[in-house]
Each structure stands twice: as structure tokens, then as C-alpha cells.
Amino acid sequence: MSEYNISHLDELEAEGIYVLREVAAQFERPAILFSGGKDSICVTHLARKAFAPARIPMPLVHIDTGHNFPETMQFRDSLVEDLGVQLIVGSVQELIDSGEVAEEQGFNASRNRIQTPTLISTIEAHQFDACVGGARRDEEKARAKERFFSHRDDFSQWDPKNQRPELWDLYNGKHQPGEHFRVFPLNNWTELDIWNYILRENIAIPSLYFAHEREVVRRAGQILANSEYLNLRPDETPEKLQVRFRTLGDLTITGAVESDADDLEKIIAEVAAARKTERGGRMDDKRSQSAMEDRKKEGYF
């Protein structure tokens, strides 16, 4: 019997590939939302495997807050070239400049919230009917209820109380004009699965995930990278620490952790022993109990 057993990573991979092929088959204008973080890198890797030897039959879309880690941008550009796929950039800065959105002010100002209108206007401009993302159910409590094919109305809103039932692996991508779907092939993966898969498949990831020395600021229990985009309080002095990032988002909100894990094996050991969730370092989730649910309803990733 054991000849036909597969590991849990193989099974998760098979599920993710199946979901991606279903996207290509059911939608006219699908796209992959690419943040440069490890989860969207894994989605892209699965897509490469799902459609090999052909190219990935959908573009990568990056919502650029303008507050990026330079490492993420270099990584993005070389991956796109390697894959031979189209890159579409939705620029938060352009929306600010055109007056469509207003930037938050103050010390904790971030561009997290105004990513959403930028994403929505990019979706509308390109008429995407499916946007594949790397979100996982284990990340956050509102995400625990996500579907694989998650419906968005023509204002890109999520209605968590009225989601489509999803049974077996029969996904219903039918929609009215103007509506679209967010699709999450990694729904059933945990943070540890992602790392083990990156190790197994030898997937390249940005250097920010590995421990390095960096100038940081401690704020409200968080360690934030110091940069030109961070507004320092009078009592804050940057210091140098050995850190790494567990998630990669906008520079101003992504908390680092003190770590000396400088290779994948050490990261996996660290993640397995971690007592805080990876989003524990995200200022954006800390604004209220339902911060994620509220942002998702508006059309966030």
C-alpha cells in the first residue's frame, strides 16, 4: 500500500496546482498578485509547475506602495525575467498624485490601507476576473473562513457571512459582469509548510528573510526597519540589530524579529519553535480585533 502514499507537502502541492489550473480553465483574464513575499513566491512556483513546459498563462500584478524594500524589487524583476511573464504594476504613489486617495498622516502612518483602492483600480483597469493570491487560512482568524474561489462583488467587496459553499474540489467561478474572484491555492498551507516547501524545492527568496544586521527602531513591542519613510518620534533612536523578517509588506509596517537564522534549516527550526504568529509583527493587524476582516471586506488581499 505504502507505494501510493504521498507526503503532506506533495498533497498540498497537488491541490495548489489543481486550483491554479482551474483558474486558467474557468476565467478569461486571471492574474497572480505578487508581493515579493514568500507566499506569493510559492504561488508563482506552483504556477510554473502547473503549466510546464508552457509559460504561466497569466501576468504577475504587483501593488507597489512606493515604500518597498529595495531587495524585494530586485527579486521581483529578476523572477519576472526568468519566467518570461508580463508584469503589471499598480502604483499607490500614482493614485496619491492624482488625488484619488489621501495619504495617512502621523507617526504610525502607513500605506497599507490605500493599497486596497490601488488594487481595485488595477483590477478594473485590466478587467481581471480572477486574482490569485498567496493568503493562507492559518494566518489570521478572518482568513480561516476563506474559500479557494472567493467571490468579490462589483465594488470588490467580500461578504463573509454570505459566501458560496465550496464542496469537494468543485469550484464555481461563475460571476456577473464586473465581479471577480480572489483565489487562494495555499489556503491549506501553514507557515511551516511554506518553509519546508521552499527548502524541498530549492526556491529562491529575497535575502530579507535571512538574518542580517539592520538599523531598526523599537516601537510598541515591534521592531521596524528604519528608512526614509518611517516618521521617527523624538524619543526614538535607531539601533543596529541582527534581525530577519517573517513576512514582507510595506517597509513601514512590517516588523522584524531578532534572529540569527541565516539559512533555511535554521529558519525552519525557528518557525517550528516560535510562540508568536508571523502576523504578530504586523502593525496593520493590530488596529482592532476585526482589522483583517474589515480590510478584506473592502477588497484587501
Binding site: 500500500m1 505504502s2 501510493y4 502514499n5 504521498i6 507526503s7 503532506h8 506533495d10 498533497e11 498540498l12 502541492e13 497537488a14 491541490e15 496546482i17 489543481y18 489550473r21 482551474e22 486558467a24 480553465a25 510554473r48 509547475k49 502547473a50 503549466f51 510546464a52 513546459p53 508552457a54 487560512r137 492559518d138 489570521e140 482568524k141 478572518a142 482568513r143 480561516a144 473562513k145 463573509p160 457571512k161 458560496r164 459553499p165 465550496e166 464542496l167 469537494w168 474540489d169 468543485l170 464555481n172 461563475k174 460571476h175 456577473q176 489556503n187 491549506n188 501553514t190 511551516l192 509548510d193 516560535a274 510562540r275 508568536k276 504568529t277 504578530g280 480585533q289 476585526s290 476582516e293
Partner: protein
């Protein structure tokens, strides 16, 4: 993790200890994190609850926290050195039957919780029946709150006997019983000192060891074509690969296969996962196959073996769970999605509706609304390539989509 993945469902209502049990599994396997616990304690304090209310961990939506109920299926993850687990945590009330059906559709195993004081209740029957209907082959009946009946072996045996006599009507080959106290942790992860009369495994022990790979159908070769890969690049000018998930049997390079519905035969030329060639493919692998001959084959078609073919049927005998708040309209047309194929369908007849608390057939009230389970006859506009659901969950299941609202309105299983 030699055993791979185990997907299981827990169903229950607020006070039968389901949240406590899940909390116990997550907590004892060190899956609950400090910041999650902090956030739950803070929310519990705000609501005036003593201690950390572990149900807040699973009830993630604002409406659920406000009303103190589970509305939707929540998925939870934990792992031990032996296995990775996915819990589909479904609400147990009858008005959420559709959510339980959803959670059960992908589960290998169901945990049924019975309060040792109360014994079997209507909801015990309902949950067990849904697990059986959705083809779950393994059931664990946890007789919970044993501490409140002084760990009385006689009481435990009474419940076991009562469940056995009820479940003889269900088609569930593997049923286990475990006396537990979810609150105190007895026999959940650690063996209890209070049950010297019980020599079976703890719950976690059993979950780690239960063998589910054999539930997958390895006899009947079924490969629904999901997507055709045609690179049209210089390097792969003539490549034509059939992408899909194996839903039954083992396909090997060199095997003679039959394409349905065309009935044209060919041989498997290659099988690959990504760029890596493999010699064989079996459920639940996602692969790309190429064939020796250039034949007409596209999404919705199926590769099988000549001497083992699915039924090609247009009149379907089905059990359906209605999912939509709009009742079924007799004679209305729906879109039926089955494997990678989609066909128009019409409900010809409702044979009976089932009272899922008593399992009685109702033949006088045939109006099918949300959460109802009914036996029906459906006629499709073109044949579907189906197997009996009890033999193959992937080729025996379907959903109905309302062509006007585009919503998924029903889920069904085919009996042939």
C-alpha cells in the same frame, strides 16, 4: 511525516465541548501562539468571560463573536511529528446543515462528540448521518465529559452499545470509541489515569495512526482532463499535454488508455509533475500526461481503461443537500458541474425528503429548501461520466449552479 495529511471534521454546538476539544488539540500540540492567546484573553475579558474562551479562536468573524455562535466552517491546522492535520470545524445546529455537508465533503474522518450525561441526541444522529452520506469511512465517537459521570465504565458501554445499534444502518466501516474529558485533557493527547478499563489509544494517537490512503480508489483508472497545455514555443512546438488530477486508479507510462466520450484508444507516452517525469500517477496527484496519438481530447473529457469504464448516464439517481435560501424550483434548469465537465440539468422528480434527525423519509412534503436533504432524479442535457459516490467520491459528486444568480445552490452524490 510518513502518514501524510489527515483531514477531519468536528461538528457540534456550543455546549458539547467541541471548541474545548479543538482548543485542547491545538494547545497540547503547541499550535496556539502567545499573541493569539493574548488576543483571545483580551476579547474574553471585554465580553466578561472568565479565562480564555477558546471558541473565540475558531469563531473568527465579527458576527460570530457578537452572537457567540459558529456560522461558517473554519479550517484549523496542526501537526505532530507523525502527521499534519486539517480540522474542518463546522457548526452543529440543524440550520447549518449545509455548512456541515461542506466540511464533510473533503474529510477523511469525522469526530462525533457525545456528552456522557446526555447520551445520544438528535444531533448525534444528524452528524453521523451526514458523515455517512458524504462517504466518510472513519468515525471516532468521543464520549466526552466522562469526569462528570465519575468515569463510569457502565455508562460508557451503554453509550457505545446505543451508538452501535444506531450506526448499523450507516455505511461506515471504521468506528472507534474513546472515553474522554476534553476539559481536563483525559485521553485527548495524554492517556487518562481514570480509565484503567479502557485499553484503546488516545484520540491524538488514533488520529496519528489511522490509515486513510487505502480509502482512495486505486482500482478504477479515472483522469478527468482539466486543462490542455500547448506551449507554442520554439522549444515545445508540438507539445500537447493533458493536465489534471488523477481521481482513481494508477496510470503508468505505456498503459493503453481510452478517451471518453470519444472512445478513441491510445497509450500514455509520458507523465510529469512540473518538469519532472514520473513513471506512474495515482490519486490525488496533479500531473500532465501526453499520449502516443494525436487525438481530440479537451477539458471535460476523461481518460480511463478500456475494460473499466465509468457509467455514461443522463438520468441520475442522486442525494442532494440544498444550499441556497431560494428553494428548488421544480422543472427549473440548472448547470451541473461534475469533475471538469459542465452540463445543463433539470430536476425531474423529488422522490423523498429526509428527516435527518430521525432518518425518516418524507414523501408527502416534497418542497426542497435550504438545508434539506432529498433523493431526486436529475436529467442532464448530455451524458456525464460517473461512478457510484460510495466507490469514488470525485467521480460520484456534483454541484448545481443557478444560471441566473451564478450561485452554487446544491451539492449532490450519485448512486448508480
Amino acid at each position: 511525516m510518513a502518514q501524510g495529511l489527515l483531514r477531519f471534521i468536528t461538528a457540534g454546538s456550543v455546549d458539547d465541548g467541541k471548541s474545548t476539544l479543538i482548543g485542547r488539540l491545538l494547545y497540547d500540540s503547541k499550535t496556539i501562539f502567545e499573541d493569539q492567546l493574548d488576543s483571545i484573553e483580551e476579547a474574553s475579558a471585554q465580553r466578561g468571560t472568565d479565562g480564555a474562551d477558546l471558541s473565540l479562536l475558531t469563531d473568527g468573524l465579527r458576527a460570530e463573536r457578537e452572537q457567540g455562535i459558529t456560522i461558517d466552517v473554519a479550517y484549523r491546522y496542526f501537526a505532530t511529528p507523525k502527521r499534519k492535520f486539517i480540522i474542518a470545524d463546522a457548526p452543529g445546529h440543524i440550520q447549518y446543515t449545509r455548512n456541515m455537508v461542506t466540511g464533510a465533503s473533503t474529510a477523511d474522518l469525522a469526530i462525533i462528540l457525545v456528552d456522557a450525561r446526555a447520551g445520544l441526541l438528535e444531533q448525534t444522529h444528524r452528524h453521523s448521518f451526514i458523515a455517512h452520506l458524504l462517504g466518510i469511512k472513519h468515525m471516532v465517537v468521543c464520549v466526552n465529559k466522562m469526569d462528570l459521570v465519575d468515569w463510569d465504565e457502565k455508562r460508557y458501554e451503554e453509550i457505545v452499545d446505543a451508538f452501535r445499534s444506531f450506526s448499523s444502518r450507516l455505511d461506515v466501516p471504521d468506528i472507534r470509541f474513546i472515553p474522554i474529558s476534553a476539559l481536563q485533557g483525559d485521553n485527548v493527547v495524554d492517556r487518562s489515569e481514570n480509565t484503567s478499563w479502557y485499553d484503546g489509544p488516545t484520540l491524538l494517537n488514533h488520529l496519528e495512526q489511522v490509515h486513510v490512503a487505502a480509502d482512495r480508489n486505486l482500482q478504477d483508472c479515472r483522469f478527468p482532463v482539466q486543462y490542455v497545455i500547448r506551449p507554442q514555443t520554439d522549444a515545445h512546438r508540438d507539445f500537447r499535454g493533458y493536465a489534471g488530477r488523477v481521481t482513481g486508479g494508477v496510470f503508468k507510462v505505456g498503459d493503453k488508455v481510452l478517451a471518453l466520450p470519444s472512445g478513441i484508444a491510445s497509450r500514455v507516452k509520458s507523465i510529469a509533475i512540473g518538469d519532472a517525469p514520473v513513471k506512474q500517477a495515482f490519486p490525488p496527484q496533479s500531473v500532465v500526461m501526453t499520449l502516443e496519438d494525436d487525438i481530440d481530447l479537451s477539458r471535460g473529457d476523461m481518460l480511463v481503461r478500456e475494460n473499466n469504464q465509468p457509467d455514461s448516464i443522463q438520468d441520475l439517481d442522486v442525494r442532494v443537500c440544498w444550499l441556497s435560501d431560494r428553494p428548488m424550483r421544480p422543472g427549473a434548469k440548472y448547470e451541473l458541474r461534475h469533475t471538469s465537465r459542465e452540463v445543463k440539468a433539470v430536476v425531474k422528480e423529488v422522490v423523498y425528503k429526509l428527516d435527518i434527525n430521525t432518518l425518516h423519509r418524507m414523501e408527502d412534503d416534497l418542497e426542497v429548501g435550504m438545508n434539506d436533504i432529498a433523493r431526486m432524479r436529475i436529467r442532464t442535457a448530455a451524458p456525464v461520466l460517473a461512478d457510484d459516490y460510495r466507490r469514488n467520491r470525485a467521480t460520484g459528486s456534483f454541484i448545481l449552479v443557478d444560471p441566473t444568480t451564478r450561485l452554487t445552490v446544491a451539492a449532490g452524490v450519485i448512486y448508480t
